[in-house]
Symmetry: C2
Subunit: 332 residues, 2 copies
């Protein structure tokens, strides 16, 4: 990268408006190649960082996940932000807030889950903090990685195709069932409890210079592609019929509901990237064979702004608010 | 540093026992020069990290601190861990958990306080996370710095003198008064609400190769020197009569109580280091003049283990448990 990307534009929405106000007043000095707003910051020396805070009752429930699953999932989700700029993980710092009751057993099981996520990608536990929390279990994972040429949200160009890895909506289907007091199928539960950060996949694509822009799917395809569109100053069109809906989401009743889970359910942690026409097709078979993971073209980039959804009948709708927002009701 | 310091020994105590168990099972790969257990981890490329989690009701109370003071203090305390290895700050990542009520106003004021702490040492806001918290305000600050030769806890040698910057016990005196419903004096309140990480002081001493071992005083002198003793495999002797008690602590009733605030009150965020005999004396006047900050020799290192307190009458007592421990009652 020649020019530093000082502050990346975010899509509209309550929590992003507040973050925008924070960033407007915060200092940003020398030595920062990629400033806040993208999936990771990158400083001189090719070191990338991101942090991800999970709080009991907001991001997870103990009835849904075991302590080791909470530890694994929080760490894997944070590591996914390294995948989202095609960085190689070095390690993590884990800040843990535990109730008195958790200290005896749950805290160690949770850290075993953290260690599992680290081993899966060859990363180290670099440090952390441990403190008492009055009520909720709190885990904040800061990830550290190395990347020479980060693939950012801001590189999408008109004419690019939009691609995703894997199939979408399974984790959201699991959450929907758990919320309704039902037991999700194994595939849905694994997608929710054991997301796999797409680190080697992102590195592989970056080494072949396939991608113009990249993000990981945490809030849902519509919400996350909106960040690429905003950061790149372009419009994104998603083609409904091309979205790869996960079989677990296809077992949910109603075609519209299935599609919604895949478009806006969130928690997929697949990669979403843009690439010039034809670039992915050249390597698609090799990628899918190497990783046993499908690649699907789900739309395209054009001039303009925002996100549009194109139905199989050809109707085009603006997407007003896609993706999960933490403070939707009372902000902005 | 030639040899990597893989895992640093911690002093005894409930929370440290648990951290020890975490670390025993966590992966630690290549490229990590200083692993967990010291004030910062350091990876190849001279990058240092640490993280510090603060939770409302445990680490601060809103009746005691304004939102911007909470933001400033949390950040300054985290930056103090960079001072504790003589690293130069690059930036921080801030994870913020806010109640719905905080989003309107408190969150922005808090981030203004974060920005104040960053500006004071030329550091950047690199990123962060913002999420809803059900009840408590939560702030986790990860600091990133640069250091070529970190000064660690593990370098103390028998014969070294033990030194501290500044005067101790003022912040603890403020907390004591606030807990008793009284209003602390300005000097005590500033020491508590506006700690100054001793970054240029640590860099200055490191550039002159004065220090063998270094830590910042967060839990209190007795608790923190115990970490240096454990990590270095030596014993520390603190001389009661040499401890520089802050005037704000001297206004508290009772000689024993004044000394306790300075020895075990915590929250000082001064530097504590060991140095060979005579090394500090050569630069002491220049240091004190440059920083308007006193240096005091408070004891010495000898062979053995643990911490001993030597009274002005010459009696020597083993220190059983010094410093604040989060899970003292129910762990270990």
């Amino acid at each position: 990268m020649s020019d530093p990307v000082r502050k990346t534009a975010l899509a509209e929405g309550g929590e992003f408006d507040l973050i925008r106000r924070f960033l407007a007043r915060a200092p940003l000095g020398d030595g920062v190649r990629v400033g806040p707003g993208d999936d990771c910051a990158v400083i001189d020396g090719d070191i990338a960082f991101s942090t991800d805070l999970s709080i009991e009752g907001v991001h997870f429930r103990r009835e849904w996940l075991s302590p080791s699953e909470i530890g694994y999932r929080s760490t894997a989700i944070a590591l996914s932000d390294l995948a989202a700029v095609a960085a190689q993980p070095i390690g993590v710092l884990v800040s843990l807030g535990c109730t008195d009751a958790d200290i005896a057993e749950a805290a160690e099981m949770l850290m075993d889950g953290v260690a599992d996520a680290l081993r899966a990608c060859g990363a180290s536990l670099l440090g952390g903090d441990l403190t008492r929390s009055p009520t909720a279990l709190i885990i904040d994972v800061t990830v550290v990685g190395r990347v020479h040429k980060p693939v950012l949200r801001s590189g999408a160009q008109p004419g690019d195709s939009i691609w995703v890895t894997g199939r979408l909506g399974a984790a959201a289907a699991a959450v929907r069932m758990l919320q309704n007091g039902r037991v999700p199928g194994d595939d849905a539960r694994v997608a929710f409890a054991h997301p796999v950060p797409r680190i080697p996949e992102a590195r592989w694509l970056a080494e072949r210079s396939v991608m113009h822009a990249l993000i990981d799917l945490s809030d849902g395809l519509l919400g996350d592609i909106a960040h690429i569109a905003a950061a790149s100053g372009v419009a994104a069109v998603i083609e409904e019929g091309a979205v790869p809906v996960h079989p677990a989401a296809l077992r949910v009743r109603g075609n519209r509901e299935q599609l919604n889970l895949a478009l806006s359910g969130g928690d997929d942690y697949e990669l979403c990237f843009t690439a010039p026409p034809g670039a992915v097709e050249k390597v698609q078979a090799e990628f899918e064979s190497a990783f046993a993971l499908p690649l699907a073209r789900v739309g395209y980039i054009e001039e303009g702004s925002g996100v549009r959804l194109r139905s199989e009948m050809g109707a085009v709708d603006d997407v007003i608010a896609g993706g999960y927002q933490h403070f939707e009701e009372n902000a902005g």
